[in-house]
Symmetry: C2
Subunit: 352 residues, 2 copies
């Protein structure tokens, strides 16, 4: 490794820039971060000082040249094997990609295989290589929110973050989500209407709000539900199969299953078939998501709760781009967080 | 947009840095690009001059602080819908990701939806946000090689590039490939050994060398093959189905099909079943790739040519990291390009 240009202590500071330009530190900072609201001749003075001193802001090369990178990071907090096997992710990325492309912004996808990757991701985000971040499929103890807050990276989340309003948390964050709870209620009501009485639920991983919100919706309708009728899965087909086997063990008389996503529903379907149980004859089955590769391709095709996954991706990207255009951050500072909850629709097919 | 810090003309040049440091332009350039082969006290002099003048190299913020970004771009020259539906890509990315992670290097995935995206990708690559690039699934007229050459971005290709040795091309590029031609030969010889005589081929898109090399391997063995037995697909399942229907129309007596990848083989399988043709009873079928999600999951499971997709990903990343460690570019300059051809293996299953 070549040595750094100078010892950290000898780097010119923002204070030195401000002093040389004869302005306040706040004004110098504003110029470094884009110059909005600063008069042109003041901007020029600060830039001259930056150049003369060779000032390099700690966090971002972009701010050095007071230019945006024109790129946005997309961070999916799931191992690559999940990202490529669940069409939810490709759809969300497609929506994001369309919106970013329409605004000539480069999508930069960062993979997170495990927690150890976050140090490196923090360095990359802090390095000024992207203007903002879109993050989805976060788990409650995910380190990403703390990272984006620490480095002041404007961020919009896909899915309501689990930490909102927690102790020591800021007022809120910007996110786009589906009406998970309302959609789950509709799924369960539909099964009741079909005459089903022992309705089980295969939940997603309960460290994600999409899973807990759907479980809450199930409980809203079935207030006295037998706990034996609820099993936790992990949003994969294999996890759905395991949960289904567990449910059949604990509650063999079940006559319906609401799975918190389509992939888990296909795993459940496989187990039901192996046990000689007909769908929907013996057991009615409803999923969540509605992707053609999974819900429509299943045999029988799945009744499911449709969420507009691609549309949510576009909304996330749009929210972030508007935040960036205003020159404020979505996660901190003066800008109030914005959130959008998109509606869900029950799509009836042969499985119920 | 805030104005640039100064008019382009007034920016300090590399010549000015060299003059101030009392070194040649070549030496100053070497320091800007990492300082390899330059004595420490000379490096220090140049860095002082860089700092004093506020010199900002045109192409890369990284070179300003003579620090690598610690990130590598992965560019897959296919629309997102292909990337997420063909397990080949996730496997290749997995191999790359493992190797980069082992060297604490951030993987930055850039999606290319269409040709119009390349201007933006060039800006991003030229912006100094990554140290090098890994590109795969290129087509013969892909603009990417010209871009990486123009901006001097060290690049390793997945798959032998079709333009090597073309007029006006540089000596060569670094790439990792499988022995596509040898693997295809083995597939066709296997079908001959099974007693098949009317062996058809579903080729991949013929603007990719992986497709033309496999077609060449088929022709190596069947020198007198009837052109009616060859149809071009596009490496997707739907394309394989279309090609199969075309082949059955033109050559109804065919008794075997070698498809240039597994996804096309599954499409062919669907069409054969629809026509009431048994596999392997009436028609033997062999694919290429060997991914468990496709080849093993098919009914019957596919005989196929296995290539070590993940291993090729690791090799690509390793080749690039070594190139970067040497501080040279893989595409131009003094470093000779390095290429690796990995062996293939025929995996016999029920479809043949």
């Amino acid at each position: 490794m070549p040595a750094q240009p100078s010892a950290p202590g000898s780097r010119p500071t923002l204070e030195a820039v401000a002093a040389r330009a004869g302005v306040s530190r706040a004004t110098a900072s504003r110029v470094v971060n884009g110059g909005e609201g600063v008069r042109a001749h003041v901007v020029d003075k600060v830039r001259v000082a930056i150049r003369e001193l060779g000032y390099v802001p700690n966090q971002a090369a972009r701010t050095l040249v007071t230019r945006r990178t024109g790129a946005v990071a997309v961070i999916i907090a799931e191992p690559e094997v999940r990202i490529f096997s669940d069409p939810f992710f490709s759809r969300q990325v497609r929506g994001i990609s369309k919106e970013l492309t329409a605004h000539d912004t480069q999508l930069v996808l960062l993979l997170v295989e495990d927690r150890g990757d976050y140090d490196r991701i923090e360095r990359y985000l802090a390095g000024g290589h992207v203007d903002g971040a879109l993050a989805f499929s976060l788990h409650t103890d995910d380190p990403l929110p703390a990272i984006t807050r620490r480095i002041g990276m404007p961020t919009v989340y896909g899915g309501r973050p689990g930490w909102t309003g927690g102790p020591g948390e800021p007022g809120g964050v910007s996110y786009v989500d589906a009406d998970n709870r309302g959609g789950a209620r509709e799924a369960v009501r539909h099964l009741l209407e079909r005459g089903r009485r022992r309705i089980a639920h295969i939940a997603g991983p309960l460290d994600q709000t999409s899973a807990t919100d759907r479980l809450d919706g199930y409980r809203d309708v079935l207030r006295e539900s037998d706990p034996a009728l609820i099993a936790e899965g992990d949003f994969t087909s294999a996890g759905g199969a395991r949960a289904m086997a567990e449910l059949l063990e604990r509650a063999p008389g079940l006559d319906a299953v609401f799975a918190a996503n389509d992939l888990m529903a296909t795993g459940a379907l496989r187990v039901l078939r192996e046990r000689g149980l007909g769908v929907p004859g013996d057991v009615s089955l409803v999923g969540f998501d509605d992707t053609e590769q999974v819900a429509e391709a299943a045999d029988p095709p799945l009744t499911t709760v449709r969420q507009d996954i691609e549309g949510m991706g576009r909304l996330m990207a749009g929210l972030l781009l508007r935040t960036l255009a205003r020159g404020r951050t979505a996660t901190a500072g003066g800008a109030p967080p914005e959130s959008v909850i998109t509606p869900t629709t029950l799509v009836r097919r042969a499985s119920s």
